[in-house]
């Protein structure tokens, strides 16, 4: 038995270039059913193909970008779907909506706060007949693992009267997409599929179904007969009435949905106690019940708006006590209590009480705490995590990142009283030590406008905003136009690395990678910016001089600090020149005064500080860029291939 042939994972027997934690094109587009381990996000891409989803759009954002990686990996001429990285989530959603109005099943996906960007249009959708069907996927982030808040987007479903499905596992994610697509097509309304970070990134074996890969029908089916599509003033009301009627039909679907089921702790026995929960926390509940062998039934909810009130009240009627285990906001709790009140149910309903319990991710441990508080005789006290006396390991800019030298140079130009505003992207990391710049963040593209507000009647303190080039195109343009128009006394440092780096190097508009090249200095000039400087981000003195000049300038000034993303560049160069040797950077210990600037102020992760005070360069981390050399006041940093005078 050959180990390779017997490998249950080599279902398709193909060798794609990217095989680690990936779903290759052959699997994604397989017409036949198959079983394999897949990440929930990858399974979602497969579900899109199986359902004949024809138009798929997105803006990258954790925890969803892996869906796009799989879809984008297929060569464009082999795709049975149209896929696009749109400029932002609003654009992505509108595109998917237009496609659905034209009769094509569409899907758009983005992270939790991406919904905020899309919301202006997204909230309109349930009023209209989206005849092709549309599945909207939002990736919430309880615990704010990689986001600027932990907003609970389940609220949005209520506000928009949009049906909501919440998976707890990769298998459920896959099955829920299939069902969401089906319901959405039948009822001609969008369905919201809301996942969370650790569900989206979990991996397990899934039984995938067949896919019909006959050539897509791109016939345009839009007709005003499916309208109205115009919701202004009084015209809102017939649309809203119809929307509420559709919502009620979705409610009937929820009552019979297999995604809402009772899991009995002992088959054939109805327990006195029960738990109601949804999403990933349900798995934590089930694990704790199993661990403590507790006689508690679970009503597992997956189709969660409209809530299946009949099913819930049935569950409550048979119990003396029911605990609602819920993560983030008190949505299930309040709706279930209201339903119980209306039905005059006497079952005691327990829920979270401690304000701390409304924060953060509901892990197995925290779930155990809730269960133990409710029923101390049934559930053991969870072990408390030990107080962490260990140094934290925060994310940091990559070795050789142009943002590092740009921040280092900007710091030279700033007075202690100057105010700096950051934005979202790899450059957000500038807020951490050692740079400590840009420690005000709201959302994508906010920095120039927040800085404009800080600069009003503020003549004695300089105001500097940072923004990345990806973020600039996503949301920064209106703020730039506003600052130029009103001549706000702000210095905007644009950190240009030519990509959307943090989320995985997706193309950003204007590099020429997708569509025409848009040179930033020319664009800014056209938008009315009067002061523009363009420097190599690696040139510390150049950046410092430009920022100084910009701060002195009375009015809106932009400094573009440009350097390609070295992580992306390194990957490309490795493929082109696989035998390329990385130039060595060393510390000349005779010249070094151990001032610590390289380690503590410049902060490249390649430097190692030893207990003796000696500093060395970790050659397996260093990429040999040499941008550190200029920062040493003793000229003790040496780069192979450069002469002493540098």
């Amino acid at each position: 038995m050959s180990p390779v042939d017997d490998n249950p994972f080599s279902v398709m027997g193909t060798r794609d270039k990217r095989r680690f934690n990936f779903m290759n094109s052959e699997q994604l587009l397989s017409p036949l059913p198959f079983t394999d381990t897949a990440m929930a996000n990858h399974a979602t891409a497969r579900a899109m193909v199986e359902t004949g989803t024809r138009v798929i759009t997105t803006y990258p954002g954790s925890p969803t970008p892996e869906i796009a990686e799989i879809l984008n990996h297929v060569p464009a001429d082999k795709r049975p779907y149209y896929f696009e990285y749109s400029v932002n989530e609003k654009v992505a959603l509108e595109l998917a909506c237009g496609a659905s109005m034209n009769g094509h099943l569409s899907s758009v996906f983005f992270k939790s706060v991406g919904l905020n960007v899309a919301m202006d249009s997204m909230i309109q959708l349930p009023m209209f007949a989206l005849i092709g069907g549309m599945v909207i996927i939002v990736g919430d982030d309880p615990g704010a693992n990689s986001s600027q808040n932990e907003q609970d987007n389940r609220h949005f479903a209520r506000m928009a009267h949009m049906p909501l499905l919440e998976p707890s596992s990769p298998t459920e994610t896959y099955r829920m997409y299939l069902e969401a697509a089906r319901l959405s097509k039948v009822l001609e309304r969008p369905v919201l599929l809301r996942t969370t970070t650790h569900t989206a990134h979990a991996r397990e074996q899934i039984d995938f179904g067949p896919a019909d890969l006959s050539p897509p029908d791109w016939t345009s089916k839009f007709s005003l007969e499916n309208g109205p599509y115009w919701p202004i003033a009084a015209a809102v009301f017939p649309l809203k009435r119809r929307m509420l009627e559709k919502e009620a039909v979705f409610g009937e679907a929820a009552e019979v949905s297999k995604f809402n089921e009772v899991i009995f702790s002992t088959a054939g026995t109805v327990q006195q106690r029960g738990v109601i929960s949804s999403g990933l926390p349900t798995l934590a509940v089930l694990e704790n019940i199993s661990h403590d062998n507790a006689p508690v039934d679970v009503l597992r909810l997956g189709f969660t708006h409209p809530l299946p009130k009949k099913k819930i009240t049935e569950f409550l009627k048979g119990k003396t006590e029911v605990l609602i285990v819920e993560e983030l906001d008190r949505i299930l709790e309040t709706e279930i209590k209201a339903a119980a009140f209306d039905a005059r149910i006497s079952c005691r309903i327990l829920a979270r009480k401690n304000p701390e319990e409304y924060l953060g991710e509901l892990t197995v441990n925290r779930t155990a705490s809730l269960l133990h508080s409710a029923w101390p005789t049934l559930f053991s006290q969870p072990e408390k995590p030990l107080a962490a006396a260990l140094p934290a390991r925060l994310p940091q800019l990559c070795p050789g990142c142009g943002h590092r030298t740009a921040f280092f140079g900007t710091a030279e130009a700033l007075a202690k009283t100057d105010i700096t505003v950051g934005d979202i992207g790899c450059h957000t990391l500038g807020a951490l030590p050692p740079h400590n710049l840009g420690q005000i963040v709201l959302s994508m593209g906010h920095s120039v406008s927040t800085a404009s507000g800080l600069a009003l009647h503020n003549s004695d303190r300089g105001t500097v905003a940072f923004v990345g080039d990806g973020t600039l195109f996503h949301a920064g343009l209106p703020g730039i136009i506003n600052a130029a128009m009103n001549n706000h006394n702000v210095t905007l440092v644009v950190l240009e690395n030519g990509t959307t780096a943090m989320t995985g190097h997706q193309p950003r508009p204007g590099t020429g990678e997708v569509g025409p090249a848009i040179p930033l200095p020319e664009l800014l000039k056209l938008l009315g910016v009067q002061f523009i400087r363009d420097v190599d981000a690696y040139n510390v003195k150049g950046v410092a001089a430009s920022v100084r000049e910009a701060l002195d300038y009375k009015g809106f000034a932009v400094v573009i600090a440009r350097h390609p993303c070295v992580l992306q560049l390194g990957g490309k160069q490795k493929k082109k020149f696989p035998d390329r040797k990385i130039p060595k950077i060393t510390v000349d210990q005779d010249a070094c005064t151990q001032c610590g600037i390289c380690v503590s102020e410049f902060g490249c992760p390649s430097f190692e500080k030893h207990e003796s005070g000696k500093v060395t360069v970790a050659s397996d981390v260093c990429i040999g860029d040499g941008s550190c050399v200029q920062t040493c006041p003793s000229s003790a940093l040496k780069r192979e291939g450069w002469d002493q005078k540098r």
Binding site: P3, V4, D6, N7, P8, F9, S10, R15, R19, F20, N21, T37, S62, P63, N145, S146, H198, T199, H201, A202, R203, E204, Q205, L283, A284, L286, E287, S290, T363, V364, N365, A368, P382, P385, L386, A388, L390, P391, A392, R393, L394, P395, Q396, L397, C398, C426, L429, L432, P433, P434, M502, T503, V599, E601, G603, P605, F607, E608, K609, A618
Partner: protein
Amino acid sequence: MKPFSIYLAGVGGQGVGLMSDVLARAAAAAGQKTLVSDTHGIAQRGGLVVSHLRIGDGFLSPLIAPHRADLVIALERLEAIRGVQDMLKQGGRLVYCDAIFQPASVRTGGAAYPTVEEVDGACAEKNARACRIDIDGITDPKMYNTLLLARLIELDAVPGLTRDRVLAAISHTLPTAAFERNKELFLSLLHN
């Protein structure tokens, strides 16, 4: 097979996800049900990267509760001791590569980086077995995964993990040239 939980930890870029994929595939080849959860996103820029791997029936959450991991595998010393403190069960086992990646808090903030003795101490507190892998002489940090896999097999640390299943899993996961290099090192380590 009794359910088994493995907590993997390392620094962004060390290949924690790759290692977890190999172990999951090897377990699946043994006919085991596997559930894995990885860190993605911002943590990968030199931050902490972890993977929770659960093998066997009866589990439902993809995330291991604190102090319930049967095995902690780490590619770096600080993450080894952190994994032991936060995740390892009483009587569990730690297998780690003694690589050092100073976090910013140590480099610029003056925090103390743990010693090997402190790692041993943390294990002793949990009545756990510690297995340290010396990485001196290994020039390519991408080989750490292979060192760990060989040691795991020698120690019989993961139920059902065999040499052949690991080779099959690596062959699926790595491009051919890289696979050959790792296979060579892997087999040579097992024969020593």
